[in-house]
């Protein structure tokens, strides 16, 4: 993680903003991935636990 952060371009403030954006995008992607997994593999006919 630290290595990835250091590899980001620009001074520290830019690195921080870039990190926040990357994490936010990753979380949104993860949300849609989890939604897909939940509705594809857990739901059975419309009502799930």
């Amino acid at each position: 993680m630290r290595r990835i952060y250091r590899a980001l371009p620009g001074p520290t403030p830019v690195k921080i903003v870039t990190s926040i954006v990357v994490v936010a995008v990753a979380l949104v992607a993860l949300h849609f991935f989890y939604e897909w997994v939940g509705s594809s593999f857990l739901d059975t006919g419309g009502t799930v636990g």
């Binding site: 993860l30 949300h31 989890y34 939940g38 857990l42 419309g46 009502t47 799930v48 636990g49």
Partner: protein, 261 residues
């Protein structure tokens, strides 16, 4: 100064270096980290299913409640002749839901509202005896995956609440707001209130069943006016369905349907 610094300054002695990791070590290291990430991903999925889906469902509920108020204020109410529903048969239930049948007669006039569009909120359900449902949940039209992500859903091929027959509403038990999380705590005689554009329809719990998901007879038409709630059972599983059937006891159409006029 420490001996290390002295050594570094003099540059005469080499710092002992570890041998490069072997191939087996690197392989195990990689497998270990992969398992850690997979575990974190799985834990994230559990957190997402149990809490994040509920967070988003409650956000959607707030919007649906606003839509409901608009519908209650603007829905067109019509009057239709009361046609009693004849249940298909008492013996073994057929595989497919039968079509409700009835005969026209001078049995009274019912109030009715236009059918809601798929996905639209049209009712609010409350169960005063359950803490989780005391404040009410918006009910949308439809029981598709997307419909049930927003709240409880009404099966479109069953009558609307307050109408003759068997109105069926489904909801999640542990995810997406878990509207029916505590449905197993209802007792016979508990009241269920469904508010629609017509007014508040009050039902009393008469039957509680646990059935297989394929047992569609629970959605079949019934004589009188019934409300059937379905959700998954047990909690955290979709193996069975918990069914709560309640009979109309009060409401805008109760007098006509119950034959009190």
């Amino acid at each position: 100064m420490t001996q290390l610094a002295d050594t570094a300054e003099s540059g005469t002695e080499e710092v002992p270096r570890l041998p490069p990791p072997s191939r087996g070590y690197r392989l195990m290291h990689g497998i270990g980290w992969t398992l850690i990430w997979l575990g974190a991903l799985t834990m994230g999925f559990v957190v997402h299913q149990l809490w994040m889906t509920t967070f988003f469902a409650k956000q959607n509920q707030a919007e649906l409640i606003v839509d409901l108020e608009e519908r209650f204020g603007s829905a067109e109410i019509i009057e239709i002749p009361y046609i009693p529903v004849t249940p298909p048969t008492d013996s073994p239930p057929p595989d497919d839901p039968p079509i409700a049948s009835g005969a026209l007669g001078n049995l009274g006039v019912l109030r009715a509202e236009a059918p809601p569009e798929e996905g639209a909120a049209f009712a609010e359900i409350r169960i005063p005896s359950l803490a989780s449902l005391q404040d009410g949940w918006a009910v949308v039209e439809g029981v598709s995956l997307d419909d049930l992500k927003n709240g409880a859903g009404h099966m479109p091929w069953t009558p609307l609440p307050g109408q003759p027959g068997n109105s069926v509403i489904s909801g999640h038990r542990t995810t997406y707001g878990q509207p029916f999380h505590d449905l197993d705590l209802v007792e016979f005689g508990d009241l269920i209130e469904v508010k629609t554009a017509l007014g508040t329809h009050t039902y009393a719990v008469r039957e509680i069943h646990v059935v297989n998901p394929t047992e569609l007879w629970v959605t079949h038409p019934r004589s009188g006016a019934w409300l059937t709630l379905t959700t998954c059972n047990p909690k955290f599983s979709a193996k069975e369905r918990l069914i709560v059937a309640a009979e109309l006891v009060e409401g805008p159409n109760a007098e006509v349907i119950l034959g009190r006029l």
